[in-house]
Subunit: 444 residues, 2 copies
């Protein structure tokens, strides 16, 4: 196979057969297709598109490039959640312990920060000692022992996808629906799930900015799941402002711990419960949304969810005492308030400048090999629609030094708008997409 033939076909807007997808992805995983050939191919895919069958073939080829978790012996439903990525989105850190404390196995494989969005692995690694690089054997043992594992994509799972994901980030080819859908689903299908819940972000902080594209992504993933007898339910959730208050790795981990202890911000809890309800329903724990919601709230109130997070942290080499004392998380050298320049109504808290701001402070990556500083970021205590007085603190900036504080201030100047009036924000959860189609979301 000459890789240029496949590249030229996609370049010219032709479709590849399933066998051609298999051959091209296998050759890439084997190093016979170079990174620079793959990135030209990905740009051609980005600009020319993939049809439904090609997307399925790409998903299958990436899935086949690695191993799969075989978890049937757990004897429990195995449900995961995946988010398309947002700012302040620490839902996974809350949801995995919470749902797994209710008898559902959660084999959660997450990613790192990408573009303006944070990554679950980076947040978990803010916990001293926490290891996200487990082998499949270790992950399986943890699932057997405590019903949950929070790991990175190992070398064994969809290695072709892992390499492509890093390339796409570096080559401005992230925002393509078939590539996003195939990337997510190849990893998730390798987890041996019996169901998957997707959190598809909406609004200016989402990778895909327009509602049609978001719904198409959700429907594509529902359909890819159906191909593999893995029922998928997607919720569209708001990313026109950060979720919760904290943005930055250790800050978000702290907020997730607060949420597990019953003290999370209302918007974070709403989204977490909405996704958790779908997970419990897919797991067959209960068919009733109201019942599912009460179980979730109960697990928080009883301390079961927080206790489960401690067990996960301990199993993965971290210091479980952070759950009782979040001050054990690494702390920024400098912290200053950001105050309202005028009185008025908060008209916008823009996620992208916040997300890029975290990166600028040292808390995100511009290259895959960059290391991240877990301590830096923002805690933004106002939401769009809030009335504020001049000089009122709106946020705290956490930075390494005075220059970081100044950079953070500039980011907030760009992100936070105060005006005389504000448009209403997006509903926290707006649509539910399943094999039954697209429905408006109705909260439990």
């Amino acid at each position: 196979m000459d890789p240029r033939d496949a590249i030229a076909q996609k370049r010219d807007g032709k479709r590849l057969t399933a066998a051609e997808w298999q051959a091209f992805i296998r050759a890439y995983a084997a190093g016979e297709v170079t990174d620079y050939q793959m990135s030209a191919f990905l740009m051609a895919c980005f600009l020319r598109g993939l049809d439904r069958e090609e997307t399925a073939a790409l998903t299958q080829a990436m899935l086949d490039s690695g191993r799969r978790l075989d978890l049937a012996h757990l004897g429990r439903p195995r449900i995961d959640k995946h988010s398309t990525g947002g700012v302040g989105d620490k839902v996974s850190l809350v949801l995995a312990p919470l749902v797994s404390s209710l008898g559902v196995a959660v084999p959660m494989m997450s990613g790192r920060g990408l573009g303006h969005t944070g990554g679950t692995l980076d947040k978990l690694e803010a916990i001293p000692g926490f290891r996200t690089r487990l082998s499949l054997r270790e992950a399986t043992a943890e699932l057997e022992a405590i019903g949950c594992t929070l790991i990175g994509q190992t070398d064994e799972i969809a290695p072709a996808d892992r390499k492509m994901y890093a390339l796409r980030d570096a080559t401005a080819t992230v925002e393509a629906i078939p590539l996003i859908a195939a990337s997510i689903m190849s990893k998730k299908l390798a987890e041996g799930l019996t169901g998957l819940v997707l959190d598809v972000k909406r609004g200016p902080g989402a990778f895909l900015r327009d509602l049609d594209a978001q719904l198409e992504l959700a429907q594509t993933m529902v359909s890819l799941g159906a191909d593999h007898e893995c029922p998928v339910v997607a919720l569209l959730t708001a990313m026109d402002r950060p979720l919760g208050r904290a943005c930055g790795n250790a800050l978000e981990t702290e907020e997730a711990i607060q949420a597990l202890r019953g003290d999370g911000p209302p918007d974070l809890m709403e989204v977490t419960y909405a996704l958790g309800v779908e997970m419990l329903r897919l797991a067959g724990i209960t068919a009733d949304a109201g019942d599912a919601r009460r179980r979730l709230e109960g697990a928080v109130a009883s301390g079961a969810a927080a206790g489960q997070f401690q067990r996960i942290i301990e199993a993965q080499g971290g210091n479980p005492a952070v759950v009782d004392d979040p001050a054990l998380l690494p702390q920024a050298a400098e912290c200053e308030f950001y105050t309202a320049p005028r009185a008025g109504v908060v008209a916008a808290v823009r996620p992208r400048p916040i997300g890029y701001g975290v990166t600028r402070l040292g808390g995100g990556r511009t290259k895959t090999a960059d290391s991240v500083d877990p301590t830096v970021g923002f805690v933004i205590t106002v939401k769009p629609g809030d009335r504020v007085e001049a000089g009122q603190p709106l946020a705290s900036i956490y930075a390494r030094d005075a220059r970081g504080i100044a950079d953070g201030r500039a980011c907030l100047d760009e992100a936070v708008a105060i005006a005389d009036a504000a448009e209403p924000p997006l509903p926290l959860v707006s649509h539910r997409v399943s094999r039954a189609g697209v429905e408006p979301y109705a909260a439990a």
Copy 2:
């Protein structure tokens, strides 16, 4: 600068400013933009296009990435020829000695085989000892001593272009007019020329297959030359069949030597003289095409051209005795005739299967790092329109072993069509493009 910004701009069909082109190409030459980022960028350029100003800015940026030959002290016109690449195209090996024997300095920088086309450097290196990797200092000394040099693109000349050219070959992004024009012109302008003649190939063996594209390429390069006070004349020549008879490195070098000694195939001589006439006119040796043609024929007849090739070979470390005794060139282990399967008229000798056939026999590259076997290839003794009998030899196959002979036979089965009648071939030279515009070509 984040390379992804420039990639995303091109991806979205926006234009880059001259300063953005400079910054992106400079960062690539410095290794700050990776190969995989550049190849995604090149695919976006391929699919979205570059406007006239962007093409000029890219040319300038690639030119600025390296050094230039300063040859004003030669006190002679400095004219080069460049071909867009074909099969059997050994014109440079004939033209450079021929024109430089008439008092024109020819600082010729050539390339290697690319796709189905051969490369002048590979052909020259079939001569035992011939060095094409000269420093600019060595090349300048050779020009001072004998008025010609035949070299590869050194690390000093347009290094950004050199890296991009290799990437484009590997990523199916060769056939884009602005990229081709900028690549050629950045190298040629670095040669310090007072004029340039372009051989733009037409027909199914050309990189650009359609006449509009070929004319646009010619006009783009004429215009880029004018930006730098380097007059450019382009001739469109036939590549619906190989040029001459020999295809393969040593075989073509042997044919070029025969041509210099007055025994070249008629089509090769026609194209060589047509380009040579333009070179002598641009050099100001004579304004009259007929006079120019007679001078060229005279230099072949007198042995001046062949003697000049000997001097060039000697200056570059090769064995000059090959000019008197081409049997000193490396010889293939196996040689067999290919005969006509039926009587009829030769309807096609398709260049692409011939060119890819040379590669398949080991005489070309599928990866930049591949080494080539100079001995293999074809000598095809018929031309489209020739009447042939069943069993008549049409070609000789030169190969390393019996398997190569069989592969060569399969290539010729694909390349050579015999039918009851044949369409007329393309005229050898059809159009002349200069600042005056596009004209039909009138032979001297």
